[in-house]
């Protein structure tokens, strides 16, 4: 498990700039939200998910996540068909906060163009650089607000 500036960002996963993670499982991809996201967002109130069988496209909005009074987007890290959604999130969306890489998984996509699209996602050092950039932006804003 890689700890980047205090945020858990596991090795072996792919990440996008919309704060979702992707775990390759054969030709399927399991998707969730990162530790950075859940700590920034606060406790999740509701997750509005696509349905099994829906087609999703890489980089496009495929769902909505509410925390407090903000409704943010779930962006598909890869294209394909939604083969599974995590129904446990209906009773307890705060699984995304409590266990973002385990029980808080959100959906599984049967990928349509996996090898090509994985190149558009981040891994390794690129993830660290991205998190550092996000933290710096947030700190600059805090300083301006003082």
């Amino acid at each position: 498990m890689a700890n980047i500036f205090g945020y858990e960002m596991p090795d072996g996963l792919y990440y996008n700039e919309e704060h979702s993670w992707a775990k390759v499982e054969g030709n399927k991809v399991r998707v969730g939200m990162t530790d950075f996201f859940q700590r920034e967002a606060g406790d999740i109130v509701f997750v509005d998910l696509p349905e099994e069988g829906d087609e999703v496209s890489q980089g496009e909005v495929c769902g909505k996540i509410q925390s407090r009074k903000w409704i943010g987007k779930l962006v598909a890290p890869v294209s394909g068909e939604v083969s599974e959604i995590n129904e446990d999130l209906e009773d307890d969306p705060t699984l995304i906060n409590k266990d973002p890489y385990g029980q808080g998984w959100i959906l599984v996509i049967e990928a349509s163009d996996l090898d090509s699209e994985l190149k558009n996602l981040m891994q390794g050092e690129a993830v660290a650089a991205f998190i550092e950039k996000e933290i710096k932006k947030a700190e600059e804003e805090k300083a301006k607000a003082k």
């Binding site: 496009e60 509410q66 009074k69 903000w70 409704i71 307890d92 969306p93 947030a138």
Partner: protein, 354 residues
């Protein structure tokens, strides 16, 4: 200096379908149609509007609204119920997430937006502050609520409802809260927690004067100038499509895509006095909480406590952490965070669906 667009409606209040569909178009326009940011200032007809993922039938007394000839609808941004009308300023603001000067992350974005409103209220002689979890307060009483959504890839929509004048009795009439059985208590709970522009001033102002002050606040904080604008044909067509798909569509208004709502009351006798907690849960999270009883505290501190608990997971450790982040000695005389959490967990145990 940048030039932003201003849509200002003063001729008549808008229906909920009109106002909400125009607002949804703002974020689409700044994303897909390359519009500069757009500020929409208007009033609604008397109405109750729930947040995107609220259970409308649990949140509102629909029959009473119909008796009062008030509209009801569902907006596309988060948060709770707002009661709108000709003495409440409705604000929709569309901006691209990449716009320079917009704060980073969810917190940063709300912080910047609140600064514009605080500056505007300052022009009316009112000192407001931003309370995290997205409200504006004056001496601990809420004067405006902020909510937001990203409905498109890059467009953010902000909503604000700013109370210029308000009939607090109306809240108890049309909203379902755990206080519903206790009408007098409901009124005093709301009156301790809300304020209006005209309650904070010696001389009353109109909603139109508040519009001008808010517009000036935005111009100063973002260093821009507003130009009065109207929708293009493409924007109008988009707005009409959204009106039909959403705000005139019972499937949207009565959507079942929301967390389960439960409400409960917890009472605990403590060394600090009797604690009564009126709790509303949306799924696993506190949607609203009212704390009353015969203990010693200030209105401001009580609101600080309730705000810290709002939107927090209703589990002991989370609640204690939320309270410890704002707790100071004798914030409620002779009470500890752990005892307050005990009362909250009692309310959770007693939860029922209304």
């Amino acid at each position: 200096m940048g030039v932003w667009r201003l849509l200002k409606e003063t001729e008549r209040p808008l229906t909920t379908a009109e106002g909400l569909s125009i607002d949804d178009t703002l974020s689409q326009s700044v994303d897909r149609l390359n519009s500069p940011p757009i500020l929409h200032l208007y009033k609604f007809v008397p109405s109750a509007i729930v947040g995107r993922y609220q259970d409308i039938e649990a949140a509102l007394r629909l029959q009473r609204l119909e008796e009062l000839k008030m509209e009801y609808n569902r907006r596309s941004t988060g948060g709770g119920t707002v009661i709108m009308g000709p003495t409440v300023l409705a604000l929709g603001f569309g901006i691209n997430v990449d716009h320079k000067g917009l704060g980073a992350g969810i917190r940063g974005v709300f912080q910047v937006m609140s600064q514009a409103l605080i500056r505007g209220l300052g022009h009316l002689g009112i000192q407001a502050v931003f309370r995290p979890k997205n409200d504006l307060e004056v001496l601990g009483r809420k004067i405006a609520g902020l909510s937001a959504a990203m409905d498109s890839k890059k467009g953010i929509l902000f909503h604000t409802s700013l109370l210029v004048d308000f009939d607090l009795n109306l809240l108890s009439e049309v909203m379902n809260t755990p206080l519903i059985k206790f009408k007098d208590k409901g009124y005093s709970c709301f009156s301790q927690r809300l304020t209006t522009v005209n309650m904070e001033r010696k001389d009353p102002v109109s909603v139109e004067e508040v519009m001008d002050a808010v517009m000036k606040g935005f111009e100063e904080v973002f260093q821009v100038r507003f130009q009065t604008s109207s929708f293009t044909e493409e924007e109008w067509n988009l707005s009409l499509k959204l009106k039909e798909e959403r705000y005139q569509n019972p499937q949207w208004i009565f959507s079942h895509r929301h967390p389960r709502v439960r409400m409960g009351i917890g009472r605990l006798k403590t060394a600090a006095g009797l604690l009564e907690v009126y709790l509303s849960l949306a799924g696993a999270v506190i949607e609203s909480i009212f704390i009353t009883g015969d203990f010693f505290t200030t209105t401001e501190d009580l609101n600080k406590i309730e705000s810290a608990l709002k939107y927090t997971r209703c589990e002991e450790e989370q609640l204690v952490n939320a309270l410890n982040s704002i707790w100071k000695d004798d914030i409620i005389y002779n009470l500890t965070p752990e005892l307050l959490v005990e009362a909250i967990m009692l309310a959770k145990e007693n939860q029922v669906r209304l």
